[in-house]
Assembly symmetry: C2
Homo-oligomer: 394 residues x 2
């Protein structure tokens, strides 16, 4: 099973997916907060904690999500988990019986696929385009699916934002089919154009959306902290099943994070990181245009921490990724996230952890690595088949 | 689903199960080590870590287990997990297909039962006695089971140590049936008579034992850190499946724990804690004899962090636990851990976190709470049925 979505390990380098600027994280500040917590810790802080999570952290997250993502919830609907992957595993185990159908974006996040398959689900690939998940196609293929997994803020890996009509269609279908929707808002904090869109959860009046987010992107992945927002009717079931996964998330970092948020450090860090990410994104787009124009075509996107760059037709994205790797450049081929064949390949390029200099030298090296592919393109020019800009509608 | 095995939350009180002396844990020392780690942390420490765990911690655990538990393994067979419950969940998911049979000690740990059931196993209760799991009974009931869960060092909750002949029988069966054995060594560090027994894993020559241990008992539960030792042939599969659970255990506390072990603090803490636990165990046995003699009969046991006290026949352990709770005393009824009816009830009493004074006042209050049951016993004296000292062989 391939391991993706940011997980490659090793230091930040062009163009691996990763967190936003670990080099700029205020480690000293975090260390001070941790020290303060240790200095005041008594035996109770060492004992088993609350399965649902540290209460002040749940309250802080509920407030933050209400303001920044229009999520509507009470603090007791917020459950602390060890990051998005555990959220997905928990959701799949609570909501799915073996053999039930689950919609998955195609191309889509393979961590979600892993969690669904492990729970015994029959995964139904549903195509995505520039408006996000193609709800009508999902309804045609599996009208009675039990669950749908979506990344509406910034589709992984295409980068599209799900349109309002699609969101409303999806909620309508879920309500009618009595299906659950997983909204994975893995990088929803990172949006650079217009105002942030409301979450899907904020539009849900029927209580069918389970919302999940992570601190791996905005803070740091080693923290292993994320959260779920579950409909009130499901809270107790989620807590019971979570106990049998691993009892609860380690307490100590939850208390430090609660302090980090309530004392305003999170908001400040996020603001700085968002500005930095936007600059890096522009640097990458400019570098790709300068060094790889005519070969790579950058997909437009309103946010996130990676860009998608289309290759010409007939050029294999796996071959491109292999050639890049041989030059020391990390990329992920789009086809690795596809469940059905794509008509056109692309490369997923992360930039959030890279300085503008890293990015500039990265695009130069990538251009060198992919140069031989330009010949393939020229050789193919006589091919009469029409081009199609996105993943194939199977 | 009931949640047990130490998980009740709240401050240490008579006689809840729990960690050994959180009040005596060297918090300041731990805080210093944590501070040192934060002071020297660079961006790499914040990034995704290794799924299998922090390498120096795996090495430290392999060394510790070799010396103290006769576990035979290389560091790369040690996988870091978020405590025993995650270890059990991971094992069940890797090794069991839905519908396959798994032996479970009866009475036994319901956290293990939860993990097995969640993986779709058909749980086969196998009786335990003063020699541990009755292997012959297991073979009669489910000779082709895929897996057996055992607590050989200190059976939970009866407290018996599995005898050497039974261990060898169990290994022989597993080898022949191509079954896996889970050895849950949850409190194997705590042994007060004779020399510690070798682990079952140390006797295994066929690579069929998966060994698991935790730092929740010897250090503190809020840490959420435990480990698995897996046969070499299974390492890669375990790592892959672990990724889809929650990627990896948070890095930072792993680094602090590695320092705590390699700099000798763990060994010293364990030594002190073991002496303290033995004193507390003697205080509890003496208190039960003094205040509840004739009503409760303490099962002999060579280690662990709880005692089992048998009630007279015909006295319901659930009623006894309810009466104790009404006096503010936490106990767990043995029948809550039984999958088949017991002929005699008992109470599970924790003591590891209690001072001798807490214990003395606790047994007095327990005596007051259970006093009305003495009448039931006198009323039953004419009952001609023979008494049986252990759980019923169904």
């Amino acid at each position: 099973v391939p391991l993706r979505h940011g997980y490659t390990g090793g230091p930040a380098r062009a163009f691996r997916l990763g967190a936003a600027g670990l080099a700029e994280f205020p480690i000293a500040r975090w260390g001070d907060l941790a020290r303060r917590r240790w200095d005041s810790a008594g035996p109770a802080a060492l004992d088993y904690g609350v399965v649902a999570g540290y209460a002040p952290l749940r309250t802080a997250i509920a407030r933050y999500l209400a303001v920044s993502r229009s999520v509507r919830c009470e603090p007791d609907q917020v459950l602390i988990v060890n990051g998005t992957q555990q959220a997905l595993d928990l959701i799949a185990r609570v909501l799915l019986n073996p053999g039930e159908q689950a919609w998955l974006e195609d191309p889509g996040y393979d961590g979600a696929r892993g969690a669904l398959v492990a729970a015994g689900a029959r995964v139904v690939p549903v195509p995505v385009d520039h408006e996000g998940l193609d709800v009508a196609a999902g309804v045609r293929r599996a009208p009675r699916a039990k669950l749908a997994y979506v990344t509406p803020a910034h589709q992984f890996p295409l980068g599209s934002t799900m349109s309002l009509p699609r969101r409303l269609d999806l909620l309508r279908w879920a309500h009618k089919a009595r299906a659950w929707l997983i909204e994975d808002d893995y990088d929803g904090e990172f949006r650079y154009v217009n105002r942030p869109l409301a979450s899907l959860q904020g539009l849900d009046t029927a209580g069918c959306v389970i919302y999940t987010g992570t601190f791996s992107k905005a803070l740091f992945p080693a923290l292993r902290l994320g959260y779920l927002v579950v409909p009130a009717a499901l809270i107790q079931t989620f807590i019971k099943v979570r106990f049998f996964l691993d009892v609860h998330t380690p307490t100590f970092m939850q208390t430090v994070l609660a302090d980090f948020i309530t004392e305003g450090h999170f908001e400040r860090h996020l603001l700085r990181t968002r500005i930095r990410c936007r600059e890096r994104r522009e640097a990458l787009r400019a570098g790709l245009q300068r060094d790889l124009g005519g070969l790579l075509e950058v997909e437009s996107s309103e946010g996130g921490m990676h860009v998608l760059a289309w290759l010409p037709e007939h050029v294999s994205d796996r071959e491109a990724a292999r050639r890049a790797a041989a030059e020391g450049i990390d990329t992920l081929p789009l086809s690795a996230f596809a469940q059905t064949r794509l008509s056109r390949g692309a490369l997923v390029l992360g930039y959030a952890g890279l300085t503008p200099d890293d990015i500039a030298s990265g695009t130069k090296r990538l251009a060198r690595a992919l140069h031989p592919l330009r010949r393939q393109v020229r050789g193919r020019r006589r091919d009469p088949r029409p081009s199609s800009p996105g993943p194939r509608e199977p």
